[in-house]
Symmetry: C2
DNA sequence: CTGAAAGCGCTTACAG
DNA sequence: CTGAAAGCGCTTACAG
């Protein structure tokens, strides 16, 4: 039988049926008064029984619990929050409208928290600081237990100051304050994974076709690339688009001299452009040139021909961790401030196979 | 000067400074008690002044308001909600994990509601009915004023029954209950827009390369296509992928007989595959074959070569409308149940230019 | 025109 | 082992 929430007011229980008509009279939610009346105890006892606090006979506690279950009692979170100062609610502020980065983070947060009865307010703020302010105020009015600030760049802050707020704040995939708790991906480690895969696949001449130099993640990934390869590095900066991937291939192939046999791309969009351009030139991937991307953005990575080997920043895990931390902080547990780098992983598809199984 | 929220407790105001140390003593939030004390009125008067209710001298009202502003008073939404039975909170239930459809809906909802002080709980439930139940219970515990159910298909319900819930429910881009309020896109009208664009561009033989027949939206769009073209229709069903777009072109071109000069695609992914395949065959778009997609999914539509003319379902507008309706219902205003179809629009890029400007 | 009192639905010392 | 009372921060009849 599925759980019997909310059966209406005339429950076949051992006592107190006549009281039901009185107390259940004011239609609407079932309150603790009803539970207490039906169980034949005071509301303080009922409260303690349900919360596992106070001392009472096991029989009483059990009876109250059973009655609560039967009448479908669910405590009013507003009333409870007013007293306990915990609303079981956190706010998620994000400026990633397209959601490519925030969405998995969001899923992770919610996944982590829902089991603890914590709900998540979604506040999409683009880059509008007025709107951000409105959202933050609304969250504070509602007594959120904490705030997670999330974004799409590690080197940009959201357009609102969240320090000194009286509620814990966790920064997830966005720039935080120096004394705040910040979660980010370890892009250097991710880039090393990518470049090693190319090296293992036998590439001797690897170039990095990537995004604008102004992005910290671009610089970090490029640095890791330089430190990992043998021989002279070559980094081509452009924009985050397929078109730039095309153009980079044109540049590399149309000039004289050495051509690469491995390309480490700044993200999956660029990688897609690169792979399309190579195919159009009759260059085989991965036989002639191996390609690795960054982001593991399914819709891109799975649809390239051949499917793309790429770095996954594990943003869902990052979200879970953010949820875990904000919960801990809201419960008063001590959390070390600082930046925590979470490891990336490599998803191997066909554009670079790394070490083939040895014979 | 930017707004001066929260100045601390020693405000240069005309009266009551000595009271501040008493009342402001219990550090933390500024409550209405502080406002009342500083303004020299009772808390009931303070409340009425701030809410614009009750009768009092304009001077008193103004003074209270000014003081509230100065001390940075913001009413505790929990306490207020407990009494008024309005939490200024709504829940958004969605099973669209990838977010392509839900994200714009979400943005629209939030955009519409934030100005009314209403925050949105995000509940991502995949297709797990247990988890859906947990989320719904959590929302009810928190006394949401309403629920918006959103999805990625018009012909599938979310895996949870939302009828008989005691809070208003609006279904947005998902199948609702017969007596509920449902918002959806007008796919037939959208498809007519697409097909007319092809006709206007001079196409004589238009085919519909689309998704699985099991999708209602596929059938509706195909029906509109059949009703709009002259001559015999041809509908090719496949899956929602670029690969299917490729394959469909292969089928159409490798068989003998008539080849189309216009292709109406079931979505933008298929359209992208179609355009790539045509280019690889040396067929020019739009000169030889014009192509129109469906969804206006930026990342696809803007990156195809040439950029894709496609139908936009205006999901953000749909979201705003959903927000508007759930708000109205939560305020007790009457809303007609039934299905509301919101118009699509055509975004003209280069793959089909419709009527060129007359000479 | 203004304030004292009751109460929203709970929890938590404090008595007994 | 159990309950009466106070109170969280507000709003809303009801008196004056």
């Amino acid at each position: 039988m599925t759980s019997c929430k909310r059966k209406g007011f005339f429950i076949a229980t051992n006592a107190g049926e006549e009281k039901l008509s009185t107390i259940g009279g004011k239609r609407g939610r079932v309150t603790i008064h009803l539970v207490a009346a039906v169980a034949g105890v005071s509301i303080s006892t009922a409260s303690k029984a349900l919360n596992g606090s106070g001392r009472m006979s096991p029989e009483t506690r059990e009876r109250v619990k059973r009655v609560a279950q039967e009448v479908g009692f669910r405590p009013n979170a507003l009333a409870r929050g007013l007293i306990t100062k915990r609303s079981f609610t956190i706010g998620l502020l994000t400026n990633d409208t397209y959601g490519r980065f925030t969405l998995p983070v969001m899923a992770g947060i919610s996944e982590e928290l829902v089991g603890h009865g914590v709900s998540v307010f979604l506040c999409a703020i683009e880059d509008d600081s007025d709107r951000a302010r409105v959202h933050v105020d609304a969250m504070l009015d509602k007594s959120v237990d904490g705030i997670i600030a999330s974004g799409k760049r590690l080197d940009r802050q959201l357009p609102v100051d969240l320090s000194g707020l009286h509620v814990p704040v966790v920064y997830a995939f966005t720039k935080g304050t120096p004394d705040g708790v910040t979660l980010r991906s370890d892009d250097e480690q991710g880039a090393r994974l990518a470049v090693r895969c190319l090296i293992d696949a036998g590439c001797r001449r690897i170039v990095n076709v990537t995004g604008p130099k102004t992005f910290q993640s671009v610089r970090e990934r490029a640095d890791a690339y330089r430190a990992t390869i043998d021989g002279p590095p070559e980094v081509l900066h452009g924009v985050w688009s397929e078109a730039w991937g095309h153009e980079a291939v044109a540049q590399l192939w149309d000039r004289g001299g050495d051509r690469p046999d491995g390309i480490f791309c700044g993200n999956d969009q660029i990688a897609r452009g690169v792979i399309d351009a190579l195919r159009e030139r009759g260059v085989r991937v991965p036989e002639d040139v191996a390609v690795v991307g960054f982001d593991n953005w399914d819709i891109m990575a799975a649809q390239t021909r051949p499917p793309l080997t790429t770095v996954d920043m594990n943003l869902r895990t990052l979200g879970r961790e953010a949820g875990r931390l904000v919960l801990a902080m809201s419960e008063g547990r001590e959390v070390q401030p600082g930046i925590r780098k979470l490891p990336c992983s490599l998803v191997i598809r066909q554009s670079c196979r790394g070490l083939e199984a040895p014979a």
